[in-house]
Structures are given as structure tokens and as C-alpha cells.
Amino acid sequence: MRGIILNPVLGKEFRSRMRTWKSPLVISIYLGVLSLITLGYYWTRQGPITYTGFGPEVGPQMYVMLAVFQLLLVSFVTPAFTAGVISGERERQTLDLLVCTRLSATSIVLSKLLASVSYILLLVVASLPVFGAVYFFGGVRLSEIGQVFVVYLMTALTFGAVGVFCSTVFKRTQVSVVITYIIVFFFLIGTAAVAVFMASISMRSGSYPSTPFIAYLNPVVALFSTFPGQLGQGLFLREFQFIFGGPVPVGVPPGSGGAALPSVGLQPWQYNFIGDAVIIVVLLGISIQLITPVGRFSWVKRIRHRKRMPVTVEIGTADARERHAD
């Protein structure tokens, strides 16, 4: 594991990313957009309450808005950073040179993913001062922000795994990027649409609408389930609760909008993390197999047939080994 984390590909990726002017520019644009959204919201709230100050709901609402917007930014940025990591190497004609070193395919794939996700996390961490503005208004605990950041991490890893997978499957980076964005779009919008469709069918048949599992794959659902109940009221929590049922708006007092729905045991963000973990493992596993040119499923082959070298050659081989060892 240490070898995977401290491997040269990771070091090279960090060095390459941070060496050019592009990185500071991306961070500046990212923070600029987040800051503009925060300021915009602040100004819209400031107008009608000049003399009475801000209501207690302003801080939490700003927090929800920022959290959702940052999730969308993470979802938007991740494919751009990951969908070309393998296909880019292939296009640059450097993949063969990398694969024929002692680095394992697992190490290459994980390093590429970790390097990209690390950069995305850098963006998220850099946004902390913007989130700090929420404290100015109060109403949000640090642990809640921490929970939201874990959702970002899982989302970045999941969409990152999708990007790495597509860049392994498709030879051209452009195709890989487009397909990755389509898949991410499906996670964000498609899962919700399918869930609504399934819920509406369920309601028409007269039964109580249960939460389709596909809804839990939506990172927005996971994010909303981490908000304390009073947060985001008036934005779209109730709508989400109606669509997905379950304890989406955790802590909503009975009668305040659907908390009477039966609990499903785990929280939606927990289901989301399980789903994400499965997706990450499967996609990375396939990616690793795809870039392993020789020795795929080698442990199976080894069991099936143990091949031996002709005796005449073995004599020369021993000499060669000794020579090489010298």
C-alpha cells in the first residue's frame, strides 16, 4: 500500500500539475465562482432586511446553497481531471513505456486516480474560507461541514473512477471525456428522473412509494441527507423527501413535512457510500485488468498450467541469471 501511495507516478503527477500556471488559475477561477455565488446570495438577502438584521435561517440556507453548488462543481471538474489520465498517456505514446516498468497496473491506475482526486480535494480545501463565511451567520456545526466534505470525497472518487474507466476503455480522450460527462449527468439527473418515474408508478398502483435504490446513487441525495433537518427548508428538501421518501431530511420534526415516512435503517448517504464503493471497486478493477497487457488473471493461469522451459535452454539460463546477478 505504501508503494502505491508513494509511487513515482503520483509524484510526477503532482509535480506536473503544480508546475504550470494552469493550477493557480483553476483554483482562482474555482474560488472566484464560489465567492461570487456567496456574495450574490448575501446581497439578495441584504436588500429587504437592512434594519432588522439577518434571520437565523440565513446562515444554514447559505450553507446548503454553497454545499450543493460545490458538489456540482466537484461533479463538473472531476471528469475533466480524470477522463484523460490513461487515454492521454496512450495518445502521448507514453503508456507502453510506463507499463513495461516494474510498476503494476494497480499502482498506475490508483496513482492516476489519487493524483486527480487530490487536486480536486485541494480545490475543496481551498474553498474552506468561503464556507467560513457561513460561521458569520451561525447555525452550522463544524462536524456537519466535515460530513459534507466526506460526501465530496466519495463523489470525487466515484466520478474519478468513472473517468479513469472511460479513459482506459476509450482510446481517444475526447470520447472518454464526453462519455464520462454523460455518465456523471446520469448520476446527477438520470437517477433522480428514474427514481421519480418509479415512485410515480408505485403511487399509481396504490402502494406507498418506497425509495428506489437508484436514488441513493445520486450524490445530491447523499448530500441532502447529511443536512440537519432545519437546514435548507424552503430550498428543496421537502421535494426531495417526497420523491425519495426515507429519512432524507434527517431531524425534521414530525408533521413538518414527511418525517413520518418509515425509516429504512441506513441513512441515504450511507447507502450512497456503499453504492459508490461498489462502483469504484468494479470500475477500477476492470481498468486495471484492461491496462495489464500480459498476465491478466495470472493467478488463474498459474493454477491451470505450470509451464516449464526446455531443459537445453535452462542450462544457458542459469549462466545468464548469474551474469545478471553479477
Binding site: 507516478v9 506536473s16 508546475r19 505514446q93 507502453d96 500480459v294 509451464k307 539460463t317 545478471h324
Partner: protein
């Protein structure tokens, strides 16, 4: 060092490499010759563990290529015909990165990088970005990269392609130096005269099949079954041709202006008699020589231009 046994690679219905078998001895330079699409690159990629063969086996220093790719990668240095570089890395960083990728400890890498840059004459470019190097320099850097883990076998796919004559000369000298250092080299090239002057062994491949292989002398002998006599006369070429046809050991005579060429199977006594006969008949002989083995001629003779 290398044993290839019945190696076959198929892409659907296309057979890129067809039952290829050959051996390469230690410290030899094996020239892998063949027309485009003959299967050279495919074979080299299989040996470099970048492709799995459909059937057949290959061993490098006793390690089966498909059975233990990790060990084989440690034993081989591969330089592809087309390769890219990380344009955001400096020359020293580039080699250091690959050194780390081969698991060389950081403490040793600095010395290895310095030595390799000296070897390929790029020490003065250490702090330059790789992208700023000329093609010849990039080729040399890639050769240095393939040497970073001190492999026993070098697999070089067209290492001199696209280089100007001086860069080709430098590359050739570098390969000879590597051979002197005890490396075994498999090299493919289209520039056959260059290979002839450098290789100890040659394998000619066409349509995925090995047509002929062995030392350059063996291959020449196999293909020609004799020597080639070249006689230049001042004039009276037709008369000289008629005279030569009566001589022992000469199979057929071709006349090309003042030059007469004839495959010859006799010994040195016969050769001396032929010259005596020509001079005795008053033929004005300008030169009388045996042509040196020419890999290009052999290549043209044994291949039929079949491409997969």
C-alpha cells in the same frame, strides 16, 4: 539469453506473427529485418511484455515472458519505434522518474542518471525540458531510459528512424559501446547497410514468418550458396563474357556495361585461373574482385514483398 519458440500472434483472422522460433545468444546484436507489417514490432512488443501471444512461448534469461512479466521487465529495456515524452519534465527528472518506476532507490538514482546522461552525451541538457530536445537527442534519451535499470537485454525497435546521418552514426557507436559493456541487443531497422555493419546475427522476417536467421556470414551463405565475382573491364565486355562462360565454377554471367557479375562456387585456384585466362586473352581487366556480402541484396532476395 533469448529463446523464442513457436510464437504466434493473431488479431482476428490476421496472423501478425506466425510460429516464430529463434534464439539470441548473450552479448550479441541481433538484427531483426523485415518489410513494414512483417511482424517485427509485434514480436518485440511480446518480448517486452506489452502484448500477450496467441500461442507459443519465449524466455528471456530463463524467465518466461508471459509467466513472469515483472521479472522479464527487470531484465529487458524496451525502446519502441514511436514514443512520446513527458514534455513537462526536465531531462534529469525524466530519467529519475523511470528509475523510480523500476524501483531503484533514490540514493542510487542520482548517480545512475548522471552516468546515463554522460553515456548518451546529454549531461549538458540535464536541466532542459524534454520537449525542447531535438529528435536525435530524444532518441538517445529514450535509449538511456531503457538502460536505467541496467537490463541484460535491450529491445530496440527502429532506434535510428528519422535521424540524420550524424545522429545515426552516434546511435550506432552507442550500441556498439553497449555491446562491449555486455548487453545483448535485438534491433530492428530499415537501414540495412547499418545493421550489416553492426549486427553479429540477423533474422529476416516476412509475413510473420522467419525466412532466414543466423550470423551475417551464415545467412549470406544460405542465400547465395557461393560468392559473387565482380570484374570490370576497359572494353571487350562481350568477349570477356563468352570467355567467362567457359570457366569452371561460374554459373551465369551478367553484363552491365563494363561490369561483369557472376556467382562463383569454385575455390581460390579456380579464381586465379579465371584471371589468368582473361589477361592471357588480352582482355583489359581494370578490377577483379569478390563483392562483399550485402544485407540489402540478401533481404531483396529472400523476401517477396508480402505484407500482412
Amino acid at each position: 539469453m533469448l529463446v523464442v519458440e513457436g510464437l504466434t500472434k493473431k488479431y482476428g483472422k490476421l496472423t501478425a506473427v506466425d510460429n516464430l522460433s529463434f534464439t539470441v545468444k548473450e552479448e550479441s546484436i541481433f538484427g531483426f529485418v523485415g518489410p513494414n507489417g512483417a511482424g517485427k514490432t509485434t514480436t518485440m512488443k511480446i518480448l517486452a511484455t506489452l502484448l500477450a501471444p496467441t500461442s507459443g512461448r519465449a524466455w528471456i534469461a530463463g524467465e518466461e515472458v508471459t509467466g513472469n512479466p515483472g521479472r522479464v521487465r527487470q531484465l529487458t529495456g524496451y525502446m519502441p519505434d514511436f514514443f512520446g515524452v513527458y514534455d513537462d519534465l526536465k531531462v534529469g527528472e525524466y530519467l529519475d522518474f523511470y528509475g523510480a518506476s523500476y524501483g531503484i532507490p533514490a540514493g542510487r538514482r542520482k548517480r545512475i542518471v548522471n552516468d546515463l546522461l554522460e553515456l548518451v552525451d546529454l549531461a549538458h541538457k540535464r536541466e532542459d525540458y524534454v520537449d525542447s530536445l531535438s529528435r536525435g537527442m530524444k532518441q538517445r534519451l529514450c535509449l538511456a531510459r531503457s538502460l536505467v535499470h541496467d537490463p541484460a537485454l535491450l529491445i530496440l525497435d527502429e532506434p535510428a528512424s528519422g535521424l540524420d546521418p550524424r545522429a545515426r552514426f552516434e546511435m550506432r557507436e552507442l550500441l556498439k559501446e553497449l555491446q562491449a559493456m555486455g548487453k545483448t541487443i535485438i534491433i530492428s531497422s530499415h537501414i540495412l547497410p547499418e545493421l550489416a555493419g553492426m549486427c553479429t546475427h540477423v533474422g529476416i522476417i516476412e509475413a510473420g514468418r522467419l525466412v532466414v536467421s543466423g550470423t551475417v556470414e551464415e545467412v549470406t551463405h544460405q542465400v547465395r550458396a557461393g560468392r559473387m565475382l565482380e570484374i570490370r573491364v576497359l572494353d571487350r565486355a562481350v568477349e570477356a563474357e563468352a570467355l567467362l562462360k567457359t570457366q569452371c565454377g561460374l554459373i551465369e554471367v551478367k553484363v552491365n556495361g563494363d561490369l561483369l557479375e557472376a556467382p562463383f562456387t569454385g575455390d581460390d585456384v579456380n579464381l586465379s585461373n579465371i584471371l589468368t585466362t582473361l589477361v592471357g586473352a588480352g582482355i583489359p581487366v581494370v578490377s577483379f574482385s569478390e563483392s562483399k556480402s550485402n544485407l540489402e541484396d540478401i533481404f531483396m532476395q529472400v523476401t517477396k514483398g508480402v505484407v500482412q
